[in-house]
Subunit: 127 residues, 2 copies
């Protein structure tokens, strides 16, 4: 698969994919003899994995660490597990923040609906 195909498949720019490889986020992307990237299934799987993690806001440094451990083989399973557990905690925190904010947005949207409907005349919005 060429970079333009991968780019379309995962909706990432070619620049982003090259950047990810450059910083060590993609282990061994195969190349055809004239130096052109030829993504195999494993490389694609990594891209998909990284995209998923990045979408959730995981830091690139952490992902590089994970990829590095992964490449070192079975001996790093314990450390990888630990890393993922930490990231899980962070995501749970983030989830909590988002839920709090959603509650607040819902409250305010409801308030604005009441104001617009005229069912609330005492317009004392308290931020």
């Amino acid at each position: 698969m060429t970079i333009s195909e991968v780019s379309k498949k995962y909706n990432l720019t070619q620049d982003t994919i090259r950047y990810y490889e450059k910083i060590g986020l993609l282990p061994k992307v195969p190349r055809s003899k004239n130096g052109i990237r030829d993504f195999d299934e494993e490389a694609c799987n990594w891209i998909e994995f990284i995209k998923c993690m990045r979408n959730a806001g995981m830091e690139i440094e952490i992902l590089i660490k994970y990829v590095t451990l992964f490449r070192q083989g079975k001996d790093t399973v314990k450390e990888r597990r630990q890393l993922l557990e930490e990231q899980k905690s962070k995501l749970l925190e983030k989830q909590k923040s988002i839920n709090e904010t959603l509650d607040r947005l819902n409250y305010k949207i409801k308030l604005y609906d009441e104001i617009e409907a005229g069912t609330r005349k005492d317009f004392t919005e308290k931020i």
Copy 2:
């Protein structure tokens, strides 16, 4: 309330608070006669609100827009409602991404647990 008290109360640096005011994110922070900020309840409420929204990842530009509309009074209720609704959608998307990633992390953590426990001998982790 002085800036250092507010800073402690909301766990934001003084620099961040001053920055928020400078860019128009805090409507009218009162000042004592020698020019020192003296946060009243309303200013504190704004800080708390902004902190909540920022924690969920809402962009500063959007928050400035909201604050600006708020200051313009009742006539902007409809527009404010619309803005909040858009941000709500974004947060729901983000929530979805986080949930997907959490599922994936849980799967991998479980896999690593099995590997470590020795209950899974076929070590064919597929990223």
